[in-house]
Subunit: 115 residues, 2 copies
DNA sequence: GAAAGACATTGACGCCCATCGATATGCTGG
DNA sequence: CCAGCATATCGATGGGCGTCAATGTCTTTC
């Protein structure tokens, strides 16, 4: 097996990065929203349901105060990862596939040329 | 178009979350590594190359000191997102498709039942 | 082997943010 | 309307982490 060594740095041609700055910003917001243990667990709980889940049930299942849960839900919502639906006193949350889809396609794009 | 309202919370059956705790931990480490503007930009630069890129070239292209770049590269490496290869004095970095692949499949799994 | 250069490590500092208690808002039943 | 409950907002606080300067380690060259 021939193993080609990397070129000396001075001989290396560096390809420029091509990215849309606004999409980059959105991606970063989504990643920051995902990169927290509590929020990831909340998102997993929401994703495990086959219908929108009431916020009260989320509060029940975590060792976090209600304002903290509410804060996390807001962050996830503003990141485009979940949808909100209020009915009377209750708030229902569900996965927004477009948000996660955007993250997935960006990640696939990064792994792209990985041979 | 019939639009079904969500059930009252008391009537809602909550499905449990099924996840592997160690894989969850790995996913969280990867997401934390990705959720930083500098590291994401570094990763994009690495991903844009078709060969491993020398650390010196990364330092050249950012307004960050060399120790900071080195720190970020370490975080990305420990998250399994990039591979390291030292040749003499120089360190070469490349995308580790397995790391990003794990993130992608986890995200796809979350979006899964999103109809 | 001494000097120079590339990269890693350390310690310190400042800022962001997860979390909380307290409180506000908004809906509903009586 | 008034009481009670679900959720959202606010202000404060503590911990985590991104960044830097200084220094260490390793490699190559003369």
């Amino acid at each position: 097996m021939m193993r080609t060594l990397p070129m000396a740095p001075m001989d290396q041609e560096i390809r420029p990065v091509v990215t849309d700055p606004v999409e980059d910003a959105r991606l970063l917001v989504a990643l920051k929203a995902l990169a927290d243990a509590s929020r990831l667990a909340i998102l997993q709980l929401i994703a495990a349901q086959d219908e929108p889940i009431c916020a009260c049930h989320i509060v029940d299942r975590f060792d976090l105060r209600q304002p903290t849960i509410s804060h996390h839900l807001k962050v996830l919502s503003e990141a485009g990862l979940i949808t909100t639906e209020r009915h009377g006193v209750w708030a229902y949350y569900a996965i927004d596939p477009r948000g996660l889809g955007g993250v997935v396609s960006s990640m696939v794009g990064l792994a792209g040329r990985g041979d």
